[in-house]
């Protein structure tokens, strides 16, 4: 197979261009569906559907799970799940065009891949946990919320980035 790592794998778009296009995507999404983008909701749907398949009575007893079945809804049949599938596909296409598709662990030279993976797991757990409180993540709550000038969106954006700045110093060894 040809060398899939190409020379241009570190050439990224101008961030303002990326931001502008992302803004257009947001406008189109809002225009067509009345809702913004998101990601953490898909994880929530996956968890609920899995727990429901394994232990149906448990989902009925827990208020958080039960909420997602109101009105006969199927949790996995969630707009965000389909959107996430699209994101994977879109990222794959973009990565293939730039030769960025191959399995690897991206880590700072100062730590081992294994440490990186453990911290990725920890970071993910924290993110998933926090996203439930705020009912969204950076794309869903902060970005889409800010687009409609929602107070919750701005608060979310400020807390996420504020929190990250607060804790950045303690984890600098992971990145620098």
């Amino acid at each position: 197979m040809m060398d899939i790592k190409s020379d241009k794998q570190h050439i990224y778009w101008n961030p303002y261009l990326g931001g502008f296009l992302l803004g257009l995507i947001l406008i189109i999404t809002f225009f067509f569906t009345g809702r913004g983008l998101g990601a953490s909701g898909a994880a929530k749907a996956i968890v609920t559907q899995t727990v429901h398949t394994v232990a149906p009575t448990h989902t009925e007893n827990n208020a958080y799970y039960a909420d997602q079945f109101l009105g006969g809804k199927v949790p996995i049949n969630n707009w965000l799940v389909f959107e996430v599938i699209g994101v994977v596909a879109g990222a794959f296409i973009s990565g293939s065009l730039s030769g960025r598709v191959f399995f690897r662990v991206q880590h700072s030279p100062k730590i081992t891949p294994r440490k990186r993976l453990w911290f990725a797991l920890l970071g993910g757990a924290l993110f998933g946990f926090g996203a439930q409180f705020a009912k969204g993540c950076t794309s869903g709550a902060a970005l889409s919320g800010m687009t409609v000038l929602s107070l919750g969106g701005y608060i979310a954006m400020l807390s996420i980035f504020g929190g990250a700045f607060l804790f950045a110093y303690f984890f600098r060894k992971l990145w620098l």
Binding site: Y16, G34, L70, G71
Partner: protein, 240 residues
């Protein structure tokens, strides 16, 4: 600093300034903010699924005894809304009630009554069907803090015009309820049928719209105040 970045930076600022100076159109976000119209309520109101869940439990009903307490205590956080037409409203209504004939419940000025969420609104009419329908409609529009008088004015009158006399074998609370209800009836100016039955009394009964609801004699425990009754009625009189 590249020139095109400066140019690009100016674009959003100029665009948003242009937005600020555009003349107010009636459907723009600014006008909507001031108007608080119900146009978007079909998306922001209660969805049919949630409405079904809400309608299954009976929390929205306020019992006549509770309402009587509110009236006598002159609780300012309650707003009584009489949904009948103006003629019936003029004849008799609950103290402090405002009149919104139910066909006009969705007009702008009447909606303004519900928009402050500071009140608990009690919807009542002669029976319960009309207030319950209005409850559904208003909940669909997203209005909160709504209650429906259980049994309507029919049951209210029955209970306080002619409180069911307790049997000898009933517990003490039943007697206390009875005295309380007679006192409430007297306070509200309802004639006591024990003393006389005027034409007015008959009219009251015949004006009621049959709703199929039998006046329910509530078991003595729930809404009845444990406080000794005559004192409370006197207190209300002084407050008037």
């Amino acid at each position: 600093m590249k020139k095109r970045y400066i140019f690009l930076a100016i674009v959003p600022i100029v665009l948003s300034i242009v937005l600020s100076f555009l003349p107010d159109k009636s459907n723009s976000i600014d006008a909507k903010r001031n108007q608080k119209s119900l146009k978007s309520a079909k998306y922001t109101g209660v969805t049919p699924n949630n409405l079904l869940l809400e309608s299954v439990n009976d929390n929205r009903f306020i019992q006549p005894d509770e309402l009587a307490k509110v009236i006598i205590g002159q609780d300012p956080s309650y707003l009584l809304v009489d949904l009948r037409d103006a003629v019936q409203y003029e004849k008799f209504t609950l103290p402090g009630a405002i009149n919104i004939p139910y066909e006009k419940i969705l007009t702008e000025e009447n909606q303004a009554v519900f928009d402050s969420e500071a009140y608990n609104v009690v919807l009542f009419s002669n029976g319960t069907i009309v207030p319950d329908q209005v409850w559904m409609i208003l909940r669909r529009a997203g209005i909160k803090n709504l209650k429906v008088l259980n049994g309507g004015l029919n049951q209210f009158y029955q209970l306080y015009l002619n409180p069911p006399k307790p049997l000898e074998t009933d517990p003490k609370e039943a007697f206390e309820n009875y005295s309380y209800r007679k006192a409430v009836g007297a306070h509200l100016g309802l004639p006591n049928p024990d003393e006389f039955i005027p034409k007015g009394g008959e009219n009251l009964k015949s004006n009621t719209i049959a709703t199929g609801l039998k006046p329910v004699v509530k078991p003595a425990v729930k809404a009845a105040p444990k406080v000794v009754v005559p004192k409370k009625a006197e207190g209300g009189d002084e407050g008037c």
